[in-house]
């Protein structure tokens, strides 16, 4: 699936998986890596109530047996109301051992919320603790333009306000909210160490390719079993694996800010089904006009998405980079 040869007209059918083969391949890799290579006894998976962690947990159960899979539910005060219920539904459905760790007190102690709120107040001084908020990335324009973030807040009386972010407020908000993903990873490794398990990460291909993760946060794991799968393929597996309807039908969300935030608002330039086809088409040598035809965009618009993809890949190189050594050392692979 890496860079396939261009074949026929670009359409979603090119992303259709052979479910039996694909699940077998992933399950074999999980067994080989976790049990034989790492000599761990099972897998810890952070459960978000979304389709990615649902598919990874289900594949882990099929690969290792349900007694070797541990689900970790880690909501915090900004999590969506349905997150916990959907997460519980998944662990009950799979019959796996699990723990609930509300990470809000850790985040509070680390100053996550306070630091974030201070950064928001730099641009919206009347923002009060407890007001809801989110970051929104400007839409991709047809002409080459900058994509800048603004913060949107909802005051307790329901009033909405928004403001463009300057450098310090943007970096401050992102740095503070990154505590969430890093705290979750710390907790996953606590359980992994306690149980002598490995940690299975849950990025899909869009996230992995485009750097939509926090370095040493959700970007950290011992194995990433679905990082080669496009998002629409993850949904296909979710159906094949008969995940609960609520999880299969949940709209992708960052679940990081207290106002509902789609992944397009925060990161990607198109909804995931179109983004899948552009990325697949680009990797497979389809032209911008061929891709545009299949998803209802002009060639020029697709070229702008190409530029956005390359710009994100460039930023993702740092996120993916392991610590760099000045000279090779016995355990380095470089």
């Amino acid at each position: 699936m890496q860079n396939v040869t261009k074949e026929g007209r670009l359409s979603p059918s090119l992303l259709k998986l052979d479910y039996a083969n694909e699940t077998r391949r992933i399950e074999t890799a999980m067994r080989e890596t976790i049990l034989r290579q790492f000599k761990k006894k099972g897998a810890v998976i952070g459960i978000s109530g979304g389709v990615d962690s649902g598919v990874v947990a289900t594949l882990a159960v099929r690969a290792l047996g349900k007694e070797r899979v541990f689900g970790l539910l880690m909501p915090e005060r900004d999590s969506a109301s349905e997150t916990l219920a959907l997460s519980r539904e998944l662990v009950d459905h799979l019959g796996i051992q699990h723990a609930l760790e509300d990470i809000s007190p850790i985040l509070e102690a680390a100053g996550c919320y306070r630091r974030r709120d201070e950064a928001i107040r730099r641009v919206i001084p009347e923002f009060a603790t407890g007001d809801k908020n989110k970051l929104v990335l400007s839409a991709l324009q047809e002409n080459r333009s900058y994509r800048l973030f603004k913060v949107v807040v909802q005051h307790r009386d329901g009033r909405l306000a928004e403001a463009p972010l300057d450098l310090k407020s943007y970096l401050g908000i992102v740095a503070a909210t990154n505590f969430k993903q890093r705290t979750r990873k710390m907790m996953e490794y606590y359980y992994a160490d306690s149980l002598n398990y490995a940690v299975a990460g849950t990025p899909n291909r869009l996230e992995y390719d485009q750097g939509f993760f926090v370095k040493l946060g959700d970007g950290a794991a011992d194995i990433k079993p679905i990082a080669h799968l496009y998002k629409t393929q993850v949904y296909q597996l979710a159906e094949f694996l008969e995940l609960p309807d609520g999880i299969r039908n949940r709209r992708p969300t960052t679940d990081t800010y207290s106002l509902p935030q789609s992944q397009e608002e925060f990161y990607f330039s198109l909804p995931y089904d179109k983004m899948d086809l552009v990325l697949y088409g680009k990797n497979s040598g389809f032209s911008s006009s061929e891709i545009g035809e299949s998803i209802g965009l002009s060639a020029r618009q697709v070229e702008r998405v190409f530029q956005d993809i390359e710009s994100k890949r460039s930023a993702a190189r740092y996120l993916h980079s392991p610590p760099v050594l000045v000279e090779g050392a016995p355990f380095s692979q470089g």
Binding site: Y146, L148, P164, Y170, L171, S314
Partner: protein, 86 residues
Amino acid sequence: MNHSKEVRDFIVSNFLFGDGATLQDDTSLLDSGTVDSTGVLELIMFLEEKYRLRIDPEEVTPDNLDSISKIVRFLMEKRTAVASVA
């Protein structure tokens, strides 16, 4: 005061770490990979602080900020606008 030199010096020291040999006045900062979306915010902060002006979100466009010459022209227009209001 030479805006062109000041802007160039900032870009060379902040984004190119002293190596400005290939940076022409009309080099596209986006296409050359000199400035990314965080870099644009750094550039805005520099211009606002250095020249004591306020850049509105709708002014944050490649037409105004994507090369040294465009930035200098934008600065001159901003200053003219401020002077005419005053």
